[in-house]
Amino acid sequence: MSRSTAVPADGIPHDAAPHDPARPLSSDGGAPAARDVLTAAEINRALTRIAHEILERNKGARDVVLLGIPTRGVHLAARLADRIREAEPGIDTAALFGQLDITMYRDDLHRGPVRAIGTTQIPAGGIDGKTVVLVDDVLFSGRTVRAALDAIKDLGRPDAVQLAALVDRGHRRLPIRPDFVGKNLPTALDERVTVNLVEVDDVDSVVIDTPARRGRQEVAR
């Protein structure tokens, strides 16, 4: 069976395979069930770049508040906050970073089972008059961001809201665009993009899963 090679997370740390991480887009032969599209080093570089882009766009970080969307967006926002602190010493670190749970603002709550509500934590200074940078792992339909915008509206009146995503996979359903992107990733609608982060998944990687349906057909053939 050809499915064993690229299976993620199980056991083999992705860092142990440092061979040419850039282009594993092997469309040759039987499509693999899952493929890595970003390695730990690439995620690192993308976040460093985004941190500097945020600083450049906003002329420093004085009025910037990074709000991560749980779960992985929070960790990404924390990493961005670390990098901004490194680049701009003397920044008020407590006011820089928070997290925004959007569960109660979702438009699909009535589908599927009840969702657990996450924590919202806004820096003590609030978000009034600040530039809020929303941070999420994958930008897809844009519905999460719409919900986040609604949630922000109830928390205060920021001067501006910007959007940072580690991966933009396209297929937007709403007129929403990101300001800072780690990687643009053209995908098929039925593919699944998974962001793994050390803080929750023990490994840093971005993986595309082709749907199980196709995988099963491969096996059947």
């Binding site: 109660m104 603002y105 009840v114 924590t119 919202t120 109830d154 928390l155």
Partner: protein
């Protein structure tokens, strides 16, 4: 979880989950804008056959903070006073499209009947039925206990620090009119599920028959119980004189004697550990089961219980209403 009828039905995971959700709801209530859009377009009917101030207002506030529409129904001035049955009332509510029904009724089991008689599809929340159960009161009591006693820092109340925790190791004394108290029954089962140790303290006349099968200890002497158990919380129950046939005469000799033997005052408060909190579900009979000293003591959390009630009821409505409506094909009745 389709309905919330009794705390005896709740598993440990469900109970802790509800308390955790309540903690998140409470966090939103510190904001300038307290309203959340979560239950927009849903209709919650408050069906109150029995007088209530705080429970009804609390449920109404909880539903409105989640943007649900609220219809209040009280038996006084309704067709019930013309003799309409619970069934016909339920069918009317169904026809009007109620998405959830909160019921308070003087008959034990009314909520169960409403939920299980196929009159309604909507989730039913028991807001007190006779002398049977009052699950949201027990949940808000558990939430208050957890916030004060399991916050991770002794003596500091912290909802966030208590998230995910149960009440194991916590000792609670529930004192007073256990016989007529649905609050006591609801608390005994919920606190037991959460791992707390409950001691009921009451005069023998106010202890129900069959209490031996409940998961708790029973004592007839308040002083002894406070000294021996050293409870982390003392929960006083209201003497329900409206449920006593001859104005209290049938169960204890006189209010003064009851107050001397089973009332919480400054002297008895000095017998319990310094961190212990004083609770009361309200409304209080000041001077009967609780003295003004105890009710207004810095360790009294009675007013906070009311505030926590809104958060807990928001969590209950969210849990029962936010998800997919129960699909008859896949959902076995629970």
């Amino acid at each position: 979880m389709k309905h919330l009828l009794s705390t005896a039905d709740l598993s440990l995971d469900e109970a802790v989950g509800l308390l955790d959700t309540a903690a998140q709801m409470a966090a939103t209530q510190d904001r300038e804008i307290k309203k959340l859009p979560t239950l927009r377009g849903r209709t919650v009917v408050n069906l109150f056959f029995e007088d209530s101030t705080r429970t009804r207002i609390s449920f109404e506030a909880a539903a409105k903070r989640l943007s649900a529409d609220v219809i209040n129904f009280s038996a006084k001035g309704s067709s019930v006073s013309k003799g309409e049955s619970l069934k016909d009332t339920a069918l009317t509510l169904k026809a009007m499209g109620a998405d959830a029904v909160v019921i308070r009724h003087q008959a034990s089991g009314a909520a169960y009947t409403l939920a299980n008689a196929d009159w309604l599809d909507a989730p039913v929340v028991n807001a007190g039925d006779g002398t049977h159960q009052h699950p949201t009161q027990a949940l808000l009591d558990a939430y208050t206990l957890r916030r004060h006693l399991r916050s991770g820092t002794p003596g500091v109340a912290d909802s966030a620090g208590a998230v995910g925790k149960d009440l194991s190791g916590v000792k609670v004394a529930i004192v007073g009119d256990v016989l007529h108290s649905r609050v006591a029954r609801a608390n005994v089962w919920l606190l037991h599920t959460l791992g707390a140790h409950v001691t009921l303290v009451a005069p023998p006349t106010l202890v129900p028959v069959g209490v031996g099968s409940w998961p708790c200890d029973v004592s007839f002497h308040l002083d002894d119980a406070l000294r021996d158990v050293q409870p982390d919380a003392v929960m006083m129950l209201r003497v329900q004189r409206e449920r006593m046939s001859s104005a209290g005469g049938g169960f204890f000799p006189s209010p003064l004697e009851y107050s001397r033997l089973y009332g919480l005052d400054a002297r008895r408060l000095a017998m319990v550990p310094d961190h212990a909190i004083v609770m009361h579900p309200g409304p209080m009979n000041r001077g009967l089961e609780i003295s003004a000293d105890a009710a207004d003591h810095p360790r009294s959390v009675i007013v906070e219980q009311v505030a926590n009630g809104v958060a807990v009821r928001m969590a209950v409505l969210y849990t029962l209403l936010a998800g997919e409506p129960a699909v008859p094909a896949t959902n076995e009745r629970s």
